[in-house]
Every structure is written in C-alpha cells, then in structure tokens.
Amino acid sequence: MSYRWLKTEGGIAPCPCCKIGGRKIGFLERTLVEVTSFFRNGLFSEEYAKKNGILQRIDPRVKILTLGILLVAVSLMRHLTLIGGLYLTVLFLAILSKIDLKFFLPRVWLFIPLFSGIIAIPALFNVFVPGEPLLTLITFKSKWSVGLFEIPKTISITKQGLFVATMFVMRVATSVSLVVLIVLTTRWQYLLKALRVLWVPQMFTFIIGMTCRYIHLLLKLIEDIHLAKKSRVIKKTSVVAGQRWVTSQIGNILKRSLQMSEEVHSAMLSRGFTNDVRILDTFRIKRVDYVWAAFFILFTSVILGFNSILG
C-alpha cells in the first residue's frame, strides 16, 4: 500500500480522551433506532405464539371462528356479571396459553382508554344519561342549554350513567382482550393465512403479508445504514447536522425501497407469479379442534341462555 496516510506507524496511539460513554448519539437518531428495534424485536418476536399453551394448539381458523363467536356474544350481554364472567374466562384462557398476565393486562388496559374513554366518560354524567345522582360535581344557579343539550342545574355522576359506562368499558376490555389473545397466540403468518382461508379476500391478506415483509426489509435497511454510519463516525456531529443526516437518509431509504419493490416484483415474476396469487391451504383440523369447538359453542350458548333468562 503506497498511500501516505494509510499506515499504522508506531502502534496504535493512546486515546486522548478515553472516557467511555462521553459521546452520545443524537436524540432523533436514537429514537429511530429504538423504534426500529421495537418493531423488529417486540412486535415480530412471536414469543408467546411459540409457547406450548392451549390456544397455540388450536387450528388458527377454528380459533378465529370460536373466539369470533364469543366476541359477538360479548356485545349481546346485558348483565355486568356475565360480562365480568366472560372477562375472567378470557384471562383464564390467557393463563392456560402461558401468557404472562403482567405482560397481558397492561397492554390491554393501555389501549382501552383510547377506544372507550371518549364514549364512556361523558356517559357517566347526568347530562347524557339522566338518573339518580351518586356524586354531585357542580351546581349552577339554573339550568341552561348548549345547542341540543340541556345542561341541568346540577352536574353529577349518576348511578345509571356509572352502569352504562362500566358495561361499556367491560365490553371493550373483554373484546380487546380476546383480539389480543388471538394475535398473541397465533404466528402472524398463520393468522393472515387463516383469515385468507376464512373470508378475507386473498389479495388483501397477501398485500398485508407483503407489507410486513417490506417493513422488515426497510427496518433492516435503516438499522444497517445506522450501523454503517456509527462505525465510521469519529467526531460528534452537531444536532442540526444529525437531523439533516436523518432526513437525507429518509429520502435515500424511500428511493432504495422503491427499487427493492421492483426487484421483489421481478423475483415473483421469475417464479411464475401472474398478478393473481394462488395460495396453498395447508391447515388440518385435528381432534383437539373439534373438542375445543364443541366446548366453546356449548359455553357460548349457555352464557347467551343466562343472558336471556336474566332479561
């Protein structure tokens, strides 16, 4: 090698600072890396789907159908105790499927305010659901109206309102838990395949599957670019420069992902793809699936029976 600068003379020079942990990567960059690693490791890890629990053993189609029926039953329940019972059943199923409740509960309840808070919270008040007051919050001099709503003299949380809101939250919680349970105990490729076999159009699920694949390639690309940069950076860059780097990379990534999608398309063409996908159905119903389905249909009918007896 004849370049003047491409030499190591007198061994490796001592590090002038040698304060490990001195240089920090920028906030934006770090966030990008954290987001990508969350998706790559958290969402796609399929940790629970690989466990040997009860729901993992059920055929995905049967699982989706039976839990789907239960989902409908949940929306028909008019009694808090029955919904509560169903909720406990779902938790019990989660335990039987070896899902850590410490993992399961926070994830479900984190989403519930998002779905239901907007509807449930107003329902608490006598403004929307009139009834016996439980807790009076504000008392006005007289009643007044805003548009269609008549604001009563006192604003309070009513017994009926509390019931409606609790019912609603419990319904949402049970439904969300059921869906999360299906997703956690089924590997996503089988989930897609089961949906496809059941009723969802093939092209739709195929596109979802491909999208997941692209997201993966993209996330990997982002991580690789980040690593490539990290291994070359010597000086700490300014925040502005760092941000500029990130934005320029986003453009770069888009360009590369476009090229990638073209290449993937040609790889599909090469193996005989002609815009109408054919999919192989490889699921097989086992005895455990029949037992499960029978048990579940019985269980749901009993619950629905109770629901109508109780009125």
């Binding site: 599909m268 063409l269 090469s270």
Partner: protein, 279 residues
C-alpha cells in the same frame, strides 16, 4: 446435436437506459450445457442473467427462447409465460429480494403453487427439498429470521421447487461457508447429470472448472471477450489479466527472492510455494 434453447443476437442493454451493461452480445446456449459466465464486478453478468430470465429486455438486438422471441409482449401470453417460467429458474444474487413469503415453507411452495401444480405434489416437493438441504427445523421460520447462508439455501430450494430444466444462478456460492459451497457444487453437478442446463454467473475462478464445461468471459467493456472450454480459457493468463479476473501479485519469499504470479480474487490468495522453485 442438442437443440438450441437460447439464441442471443447482437444484444445491447443499459440499466435505466443510461448505464451500459451489455454491448453487442452474441451467444447461443444449447440444451444440457454447463456454462459459466465469468467477469469482473460490473461487467454485466447479472444483466445477462436477467435477460435470459425474461425480467429485463434488451434495447437493441433480440433474444429467442426455443425459437420463440422473448419480449414483454410474448411473455404476456399466459401459456407461453407458464411454459417459460416452468422451464427456466433463477437464483438471484441477492436472496433478500428473492424471499418474500411469510415462512420458509410457503416460500418454497410459492413457485409450484403459482404454476398450478397440485397440492399433494407441492407438499411432496417442499418436504423433499427441506430434507435435501437439511432445513426441516427452519420450515416455520420467516425468511428474515435466517442467516445469509440459510437464506441462500432457501432461495435455491425455492427455485428448484419449480423443477426448471434450465437453471440460472447469479453468484450462488457468495457468502456460503466452504462446506455448503462444496455441497452446492456437488448438487449442481448432480442436477446437470440428471439432464439440466446450468448457467452460472461467477467471478470465482477457483470453482469455474467444476461448474462449467464452457466458459464465457465478459470484459469490463460489457462485451464477450472470449468463450471456450474451461481449461483452455483458464490457461490464458494474459486474457484473464486483461479482463481483471486475476491480478499480478508481487511478494518476497523468506529467502529474499522476489516472486511474481497471477491469481484470482478469492480462494487463490491462500497458496503455498516451494521456495526453491520460484520464477
């Protein structure tokens, strides 16, 4: 006399219309041949392979497959397309783009399924391939959860599942460990003996003799510089030097003699000399 499968006449191709990749290439490929496309990086090997697989189309000249012109229009014909895809299979240089299904099993089943092969037959093929490549434990994994070498194996399996009569491979041994490389060479040999036509793009001189009876060399000017039987072409050192497939290498031996010889880019870097027999 075996019949011609590919006839390439005066083909020129440039990527995106401005980066030249092939210039005035003439080539005939016959059934049951075993061919290596040799050339330095960027000489146009991948481009030629894509053209042979009907994925890229030359701007100038023409290519015929079994006497039929291979164009975007002719491949729109359902019957011809199906016949062509069944007959010609390609293992891409980049396995990442070749693998798009959700599981290894689905990936291998994709090709035969698209070509309308029965479910029982597809299942048999996939399971046989998994066994042959010793990948049964990986069948439910997603292709993105595999190492580079494993991806390559899946890519090869997914191409073989179609049972193509003509197999195109773009730098298939890249990134494989020596044992898998040896296995692949063996496999290609076996496939060739079973009657398949095999066309491999490579720049690994060390493997060419095993991979091919006929060698085609693409120069850095994107033209075919020469073609001939493997031993003949590989013996022509000055030509190999000229197309940048080997480079002259000077080094001093323990006894102080200066020694110069040519070698390829990869495997031949590790070699032994008898120090008294230097040039």
């Amino acid at each position: 006399m075996e019949k011609k499968v590919f006839e390439i006449k005066d083909v020129s191709y440039s990527c995106l219309g401005k980066f030249p990749a092939l210039c005035g290439v003439n080539l005939e490929i016959k059934e049951k041949e075993k061919i290596a496309l040799l050339g330095a990086n960027g000489s146009g090997k991948s481009s030629l392979i894509l053209i042979l697989n009907g994925l890229a189309f030359p701007q100038k000249g023409e290519i015929r497959f079994m006497g039929e012109r291979l164009t975007e229009e002719s491949l729109e014909d359902e019957e011809f397309n199906s016949f062509f895809r069944k007959t010609v299979g390609l293992v891409f240089q980049n396995s990442d783009i070749q693998l798009f299904s959700s599981t290894v099993w689905d990936e291998i089943a994709f090709g035969p399924t698209q070509l309308g092969i029965s479910k029982a037959e597809v299942e048999e093929r996939v399971n046989d391939l998994l066994e042959m490549l010793d990948m049964h434990s990986l069948k439910d994994r997603s292709p993105y959860q595999l190492s580079g070498g494993e991806k390559k194996k899946v890519a090869i399996a997914s191409t073989l599942a179609v049972n193509p009569d003509i197999l195109l491979l773009d730098e298939p041994t890249n990134g494989l460990d020596p044992r898998t490389q040896a296995f692949l060479m063996e496999l290609l040999e076996e496939l060739h003996r079973s009657g398949k036509t095999i066309i491999t793009a490579t720049h690994d001189l060390g493997k060419v003799e095993k991979m091919a009876d006929r060698v085609i060399i693409l120069g850095e000017d994107h033209t075919i510089v020469t073609e001939g039987c493997a031993s003949e072409v590989l013996g022509n050192k000055s030509l190999l030097l000229e197309v940048n497939l080997i480079h002259e290498h000077l080094h001093r031996h323990d006894d102080g003699t200066l020694h110069s010889h040519e070698h390829g880019h990869f495997s031949e870097h590790e070699h032994n000399h008898n120090k008294y027999k230097t040039v």
